[in-house]
């Protein structure tokens, strides 16, 4: 999906846990997620901290979308 949407002219930020797979399949903006069963949050955290974590991931993805890249890039926080 990431490759096809980019081919249509839109930048894509791929949020995923196993970033090496994202690199292998050719995503350009890669945002590390938390874990395979719960990529966008951490159920072991209390709700307030979980929300904070979730917001950070989304903000990191938005930051990636607006950043020019010249090669496949992993956006570590």
């Amino acid at each position: 999906m990431a490759k096809e949407i980019e081919r249509a002219g839109f930048p894509v930020a791929h949020i995923c846990t196993v970033t090496p797979i994202s690199k292998t399949v050719g995503a350009n903006r890669i945002i590390p997620a938390i874990a395979i069963p719960h990529p966008l949050g951490d159920p072991s955290l209390d709700p307030a901290n979980d929300k904070k974590l979730r917001r950070e991931i989304v903000e990191n993805a938005l930051h990636a979308l607006t950043t020019d890249v010249t090669e496949q890039t992993i956006f570590e926080e």
Binding site: V18, T19, I21, I34, A35
Partner: protein
């Protein structure tokens, strides 16, 4: 460490009030075995059925397959830390009931578990169709969580296998085999000129019905470690997983690991089988990096020339596999990886989720997505409706006449990544 395996060939299983082994026929007391299973209050009902090779029987949903074994000499009992006290196993003498297994069946935990067809075109997809199967069918008590239920069934299967194997404790086996595991100094002195080869076994460790246990420890909590191959023959590794049943290692697989068997055959002849490393396949990227780092360090520490790596499962564990492969190769050690493929029903998609040019020697167990149509069988042990929800099946997989249309993914052991199955292609 030296282990002697003594084999008894089981030609048939029958129910009887007096349990015994007589002329290759195993007589088991169903009432006594069921009573032992039902001592666990997490299970509401239990009964046994017998499924023999060639019978028109489908077993679904299969959770685990276990070969009955009993330790008659040496430390510990079978399945240490899980179904018996924690003790080091892998030496002494263990008796094996060949040609049979205990199969555990019961309502599914989620969308998992597998199928064994005892005859018909589905027979070739599960190697367990060739065994006399003592099938334990259970139902969970009300209010029991999926986690408790899974654990209760797992223990019930292991304990049943141990109880059955007790019948041969005082008998004399038909044939024996010896397996010796020398320490690294001794094996280096004994075989100074042979290539040093080890086995890296990856263990599925991703949560409920995706877990494996080592001496009772959940494998997601281990760091990669050395283990004697003979320990695995005594049940040091126990399966707690069967999701996408085609490429999960049942406890039977762990007890009869063909990679270990073949390395032992070559040991002292064409190679020095130095030892074995077990590692996990966790759901956090940091765990994958840490475990593959540690696995490569252990291989380097052993001064190896070559490593065989077997994967368990597919998808994100493909990354664990490729990390293990590339990091071991980077130590100057040659690798061969054993995996399977999810290449789509037409076989045209990318087979693995991850890849590397360093993975240049690959053995595959086949394409799990291959779609098959299997006519109905006369009898179902368990419940055939689950075919519509287990991995590899989909809504409509079960036809009105009892036939099934599903991916071979549903068959227990169909694309096993230890090379256990016998399917091949030209």
């Amino acid at each position: 460490m030296k282990l002697v395996l003594g084999y008894f060939s089981i030609e048939d299983i029958q129910f009887a009030e007096e349990p015994r082994l007589e002329d290759g026929v195993l007589f088991v007391d169903e009432a006594a075995l069921s009573a032992e299973v039902l001592a666990d209050e997490r299970l509401r009902a239990a009964h046994f059925e017998i499924a023999r090779p060639g019978e028109s029987v489908r077993i679904i949903p299969v959770k685990d397959v276990i070969q009955p074994r009993v330790k008659v000499e040496g430390g510990g009992e079978m399945f240490p830390g899980m179904a018996s006290n924690v003790d080091v196993v892998g030496s002494g003498t263990t008796y094996v009931l060949e040609g049979m297994s205990v199969v555990t069946v019961g309502p599914i935990v989620g969308f998992q578990e597998g199928v064994i067809d005892m005859s018909g075109p589905g027979e070739v997809y599960s190697p367990f169709s060739q065994l006399n199967n003592l099938v334990l069918v259970v139902e969970p008590a009300e209010g029991v969580t999926p986690q408790e239920y899974e654990q209760a069934v797992r223990l019930a299967g292991l304990k049943t296998a141990m109880n059955v194997a007790e019948l041969v404790r005082e008998l004399t086996p038909e044939r024996i085999e010896e397996f010796e595991h020398l320490n690294i100094v001794e094996s280096s002195r004994k075989y100074p000129d042979l290539p040093r080869v080890a086995y890296v076994q990856m263990l599925q460790s991703q949560g409920l019905l995706h877990d494996t246990y080592v001496y009772g420890v959940d494998a997601k909590r281990i760091l990669p470690t050395l283990i004697s191959p003979t320990e695995t023959m005594d049940g040091a590794i126990v399966s707690g997983n069967c999701v996408s049943a085609c490429d999960k290692n049942t406890t039977y697989h762990h007890l009869n690991n063909p990679v270990i068997a073949d390395l032992y055959k070559a040991h002292g002849e064409t190679l020095n089988f130095v030892g074995m490393v077990i590692t996990n396949e966790n759901v956090y990227l940091a765990d994958k990096i840490r475990s593959s780092n540690h696995t490569a360090e252990l291989c380097s520490y052993l001064g190896l020339d070559g490593v065989i790596i077997s994967q368990e499962g597919f998808g994100n564990p493909d990354t664990d596999l490729i990390m293990n492969c590339t990091k071991i190769e980077d130590k100057g050690i040659k690798t061969v990886i054993i995996t399977d493929e999810y290449a789509g029903r037409d076989g045209k998609s990318q087979s693995l989720a991850d890849a590397s040019p360093k993975a240049n020697a690959v053995v595959t167990g086949g394409n799990a997505n291959m779609l098959v149509e299997i006519p109905p069988l006369d009898k179902v042990i368990g419940s055939s409706g689950y075919i519509n929800v287990i991995a590899g099946g989909s809504a409509g997989s079960l036809k009105a006449d009892g036939a099934i249309e599903a991916e071979i993914q549903v068959y227990t052991g169909a694309t096993n990544e230890l090379g256990f199955n016998k399917m091949s292609a030209r």
